[in-house]
């Protein structure tokens, strides 16, 4: 049996509590609050205590999906990404970069957001980038 505890940051609210994700043989089994964190000082709320549960939910998306004959069906990464890249290129060529919009997110990491807005601005060529900070 291999047990690991990995220090990380809670995905739920803006407090940013720190905890250790506990895993046994590659499956998450629990959470231990970080006592040295200046934010939560060894405490967590009910959301933090259970923040490992949804990760390995059977409802997680397992593969890319493409809509065919009105239905979303599993596809390979190559097929899905080529489809999206091709579609975006065509639309940008025909209607210009501002005919594309991008929603960034308050739930993904800084690095994810940075790469996303860089792609939107330097790749697609649009400042149509927003996320739901307002909401």
């Amino acid at each position: 049996m291999s047990y690991q505890a990995t220090k990380t940051t809670c995905p739920y609210c803006g407090c940013g509590c720190n905890f250790y994700l506990e895993s046994v043989d590659g499956r998450l089994v629990g959470i231990v609050p970080d006592k040295s964190s200046p934010v939560n000082q060894g405490k967590l709320c009910v959301k933090g205590w259970t923040a490992f549960e949804f990760v390995q939910s059977p409802r997680r998306l397992q593969t890319p999906l493409i809509r065919k004959n009105g239905e979303l069906v599993p596809a390979s990464w190559d097929e899905a990404l080529d489809f999206v890249a091709g579609g975006l290129k065509k639309i940008v060529k025909e209607s210009g970069p501002r005919s594309v919009g991008v929603f960034a997110s308050a739930k993904i990491t800084n690095e994810d957001n940075y790469v996303l807005q860089k792609f939107a601005r330097a790749g697609i060529g649009t400042n149509n980038v927003d996320h739901c900070a307002r909401l």
Binding site: S57, S99, L116, F119, A133
Partner: protein, 542 residues
């Protein structure tokens, strides 16, 4: 954000969470802190235990009132009038900080002229708050050695959201309760990385680090930083569209493709039917998420991202602290970290990107984002670092605006009270307000897939005052129908004194009773925050 940025030059929380513990007075407005930010609430309790006073101002009788030294229930949407009333008393009694106003601010005279029109008698009529309570709040806040303001969506989700925030900033400058330990104006961010998404330029008007897209020198800098072999970078010269404007553009055929990463606008935006109608018109809707959300179900292509527990990176919390996220397990199925998917897509689109890891991405971030310049992954091992962190040996910054505001002088803005965009009338005679419940998070994508949390609160509900419940003949748990000009929903009644008799409250976590079917898309003219918090509604037994 826009409100604080206009006043101080930065939209972030001015002080750190732990400083609240040492405040003498904490003024909490529009924030149901124990529910939305439990670990901030612990600081309020500790401050009280040390002899500090907590003032809670909220139109809903939130549970925090029981921990308050003074609880004030004002009428929905009257925040600006209430704060003007408090400032009137402060000026009248001479409790303002004249030295601070003189040396660190501008715009005082025009501001004072407006505040002078809000004597307590008038404010009491508008807000329903007693003159005595207005005076007490003014005295406690102004006379405190260290007073902090804490606010959340209850302040910002109005058509007057920016005005409300500016009013709070006015209050802090008037009394010099800013730029010191345990003072300041502190917006609590709803979602975990709202701060980071803003810092990273996830906004239509700024690049990373709040550098304006309209500034030519800034544009040149980014054009150079983002050069890539075999690709001509041609940056958009104008401000982009906000989310509501993008939905509008889709609806009117001016926008053809939308790439949504980690958002669920069908659930989180106001007026759900309008959102669905707009999204349905996209020729190419691409949704990247960890679950098949309501928005993903409408997509042409769905890309499986992986969760926080399966990837490396950083989040920036509500006090600007950049902290590590670390992969604990392998991604489920074929899911991949979002940055990898986006990079792969960019390469196929034709714009080359070759980041090897999130640590390398952070290195590029630090080169173009002054606030993050001194941050590296290896420096984040312990407690993380609060920006601004300008150099590699800088320890980070606990509170902002110490000897001068980020923008130089702080600006007083005169703020007149404006009533909410939609008020009750004979057809829709009651107030509807929305918010969140403690076990759930935003649109419920994560929390409703968590068995423990789901078991605690499986269904949506409507909070209804006992008097109103009797009047329309609904028992606790019985079914009620809510109708607004935009649609109607049915949900179970939770009969509670938390809401006044003329008001109902719904959450937006549940698709089957989603409050956003009902809410108003009237927008704050500057930041375009929808008026989630108030609209007019009819309530019946169903």
């Amino acid at each position: 954000m826009a409100g604080l940025a206009a006043t101080f030059g930065s939209g972030a929380m001015t002080n750190s969470i732990d400083e609240l513990t040492d405040a003498d007075v904490i003024f909490v407005i529009g924030s149901n802190t124990p529910t939305a930010h439990p670990l901030v609430a612990t600081r309020l309790f500790r401050a009280r235990a040390k002899g500090g006073r907590v003032i809670v101002v909220d139109p809903r009788g939130i549970s925090l009132r029981k921990q308050a030294d003074l609880y004030v229930q004002h009428k929905l949407g009257t925040d600006a009038a209430l704060i003007n009333g408090i400032m009137y008393v402060i000026l009248k009694e001479g409790w303002e900080n004249k030295a601070f106003i003189e040396s660190r601010t501008e715009g005082f005279d025009a501001f004072r002229a407006v505040v002078d029109q809000y004597p307590p008698e008038r404010v009491s009529q508008i807000t329903g708050v007693s003159e005595q309570d207005i005076r007490t709040m003014a005295e406690w806040y102004a006379k405190a050695e260290k007073a902090s303001i804490v606010y959340c969506m209850g302040i910002t989700q109005h058509t007057t959201g920016v005005d409300n925030v500016k009013s709070l900033a006015n209050l802090s400058m008037l009394t010099g309760q800013i730029g010191r330990e345990s003072t300041g104006v502190n917006p609590l961010r709803g979602q975990n990385n709202v701060q980071g998404a803003c810092d990273m330029g996830g906004l239509p008007n700024v690049y990373p680090g709040y550098q304006p897209v309209l500034n030519e020198a800034v544009r040149e800098k980014f054009g150079a930083a983002w050069k890539a072999e075999g690709w001509e970078v041609s940056l958009d010269q104008g401000v982009g569209l906000t989310i509501p404007d993008m939905l509008h553009a889709l609806d009117h055929g001016e926008m053809r493709a939308l790439y949504v990463v980690g958002e669920n606008p069908v659930m989180s935006d106001p007026d759900q039917h309008h959102v669905e109608q707009a999204l349905a018109k996209a020729e190419l809707l691409v949704v990247q998420d960890i679950f098949l959300t309501e928005t993903a179900r409408m997509a042409h292509v769905v890309l499986p991202g992986c969760s926080y527990a399966e990837k490396d990176g950083t989040f920036s919390n509500t006090e600007r602290r950049v902290q590590r996220v670390r992969a604990a397990v392998k991604p489920v199925g074929q899911s991949r970290p979002d940055w990898e998917i986006i990079q792969d897509l960019s390469n196929r689109f034709g714009y080359p990107m070759h980041f090897e890891s999130p640590a390398r991405i952070m290195e590029e971030i630090t080169q173009v984002t002054p606030q993050y310049a001194g941050i590296r992954f290896d420096r984040l091992e312990g407690e993380g670092i609060a920006w601004p962190c300008p150099t590699l040996d800088h320890p980070g910054t606990r509170f902002l605006h110490k000897d001068k505001f980020v923008k130089g002088l702080g600006t007083f803005f005169p703020i007149e009270f404006k009533p909410p965009a939609e008020t009750p009338d004979p057809e829709y005679p009651m107030w509807l307000t929305t918010g969140r419940a403690h076990v759930h998070y935003h649109t419920g994508t994560m929390t409703r897939n968590s068995p423990t949390l789901h078991a605690q609160m499986p269904d949506g509900y409507v909070e209804l005052n006992p008097a109103k419940a009797r009047e329309i003949g609904v028992e606790p748990g019985g079914s009620v129908r809510l109708s607004t000009r935009r649609g109607s929903i049915t949900a179970a009644a939770m009969v509670t004194e938390r809401v006044p008799a003329d008001t109902v409250f719904v959450t937006f976590h549940f698709i089957e009773a989603n409050g956003n079917v009902l809410t108003n898309t009237a927008l704050d003219p500057i930041v375009k925050i929808p008026e989630f918090k108030v609209c007019a509604v009819r309530v019946e037994a169903a």
